[in-house]
């Protein structure tokens, strides 16, 4: 396959960026999208140019590092991560636009690499269960109904890639935040911090400069792990419940 790539190039956080055009040839349909970029980068290095910087690590769709907007879609046309997108999803002669995640809470570091540390700070605000090492009771002491365990797991699958934010026209982090809130709040182990968790995480999310939710559903469509839009509804419910309880106290 022969492809034309238009890639966002930006020297560093302070520099102005722009799209640059490159040609790549001999692309196999079995290559992953990132392997195709590897080919481009090898080409650039040998030509004495700087290779395109992009985040990637596990290349098996679980670490959440890769983060490209491909032809306007976060992670590209398939519902998966960029690293699991294969070139067979494109056609010979295609022009492909490659851009970084866009959100003011995710500033660009270089080229296609953005700073997603805001996500870490949302988790730090309450996305945990306080259970210091050694303090745990026997695992079977508290059975968890299978339905709850499955619900928790479904939300725990979030890989923190940020595609939800990238896809949202408001740059909102509601799907990310709600996934963690729902994972922990449904479990009996998470109950003691149920109210503070949702209130603190939402407050942190706001403070990081993410937008609000207008329920466009773009986040859930882009999510490579299929976190449902309903996750946001469940978090709203938790938030209202927590606000009411806090008001009574």
């Amino acid at each position: 396959m022969k492809l034309t790539l238009r890639v966002w190039r930006q020297k560093n956080a302070d520099a102005e960026g722009a799209m640059s055009t490159y040609e790549v040839d001999d692309i196999s349909p079995d290559m992953s999208f990132l392997e195709m970029l590897d080919v481009l980068n090898e080409q650039l290095i040998l030509a004495g140019e700087e290779p395109v910087a992009f985040d990637h690590d596990c290349r098996e769709g679980i670490c959440g590092a890769c983060s490209l907007v491909i032809n306007g879609d976060a992670h590209g046309p398939e519902r998966t991560t960029t690293c699991q997108l294969h070139m067979r999803s494109f056609r010979d002669g295609d022009t492909i636009d490659i851009e970084p995640w866009r959100a003011s809470a995710f500033p660009v570091i270089k080229d296609l690499v953005v700073d997603r540390s805001a996500f870490d700070r949302i988790i730090q605000a309450g996305g945990y269960i306080t259970a210091p090492t050694g303090s745990a009771p026997e695992a079977h002491a508290t059975p968890v109904p299978k339905a709850d365990a499955d619900f928790a797991f479904e939300h725990a699958e979030c890989i923190g890639c940020g595609a939800c934010v990238a896809a949202c026209p408001n740059g909102a982090a509601m799907l990310f935040t709600s996934a963690k809130v729902n994972h922990l709040n449904v479990l009996p182990q998470g109950a003691p911090e149920r109210e503070t968790r949702v209130l603190d995480m939402v407050a942190r999310m706001d403070a990081e400069g993410f937008g609000g939710c207008t329920l466009t559903g773009e986040c859930a469509t882009a999510c490579p792990k299929g976190i449902p839009l309903m996750s946001i509804t469940s978090m709203n419910k938790e938030w209202l419940r927590a606000t009411r309880k806090a008001g009574k106290r």
Partner: protein, 223 residues
């Protein structure tokens, strides 16, 4: 609690949802009242008069009406203010657009902001036209709503403004009702279909009900 509400993006959405639901309930009553116009001037004008005497003798003349107006005004202001503030936050959160543009989301979803603005402007015109009579075409007659309505919809611009606004209303309700349900946390996977259907039915019935009046005037059914 009020502070937490107003300071949080989720809280402001709640304010929008609640105020939206209040306005929606009002619109349901409003459209039912409107349809009385098809039963003649007598019945319609009588209904208009009744609105002012509801609650008597406990309430004084027009007290109930004013109470409703105050609640509605509060709802509009709350709805618009939170919408404005949330929109500013949203725009700030996504300052640079993608070079590769793609049509996004449904039409109803994408038009919430502009639709809201259109509806806001419409309400102002609507009140000046049929409540105060300030911009009413032809002589506004206090206490004769039937004639006033016929006057308004006898002008081309009256019809255009009204019908465009009602279409915007339909779209607004279509996404707004379902969205409010999610914001208030009453949505669920099981109920999602029902909620979406209800939103569509409400949007359709309200739009059709409201639009029926100018159409009635235009076709001469109401004159």
């Amino acid at each position: 609690m009020a502070r937490t509400m107003w300071d949080s993006s989720v809280g402001k959405k709640t304010v929008m949802a609640v105020s939206g639901v209040i306005m929606l309930l009002y619109l349901v009553a409003h459209v039912i009242g409107n349809l009385k116009i098809f039963f003649g001037a007598g019945e319609f004008n009588h209904y208009g008069h009744w609105l002012r005497t509801v609650g008597e003798p406990f309430m004084h003349y027009e007290w109930t009406l004013w109470l409703i107006r105050v609640v509605l005004l509060a709802a509009v202001v709350a709805h618009a203010t939170s919408a404005y503030q949330l929109s500013r936050r949203d725009i700030r959160a996504r300052p640079s657009k993608y070079v590769h543009k793609k049509p996004r989301a449904g039409y109803a979803t994408r038009t919430m902001r502009w639709g809201g603005v259109i509806l806001g402007l419409f309400i102002v015109w609507h009140v000046l036209d049929l409540t105060t009579g300030t911009v009413h075409p032809g002589g506004f007659q206090e206490g004769h709503p039937y004639q006033n309505v016929v006057d308004t919809f006898s002008t081309w611009y009256g019809n255009v403004v009204y019908i465009v606004a009602m279409l915007a209303l339909g779209l607004h309700i279509r996404h707004g009702f379902w969205s409010a349900a999610q914001t208030l946390g009453v949505g669920s996977r099981r109920r999602d279909r029902a909620l979406k259907t209800l939103a569509n039915v409400l949007a359709l019935l309200l739009t059709a009900g409201f639009v029926a009046v100018p159409v009635g005037v235009m076709t001469g059914v109401v004159s």
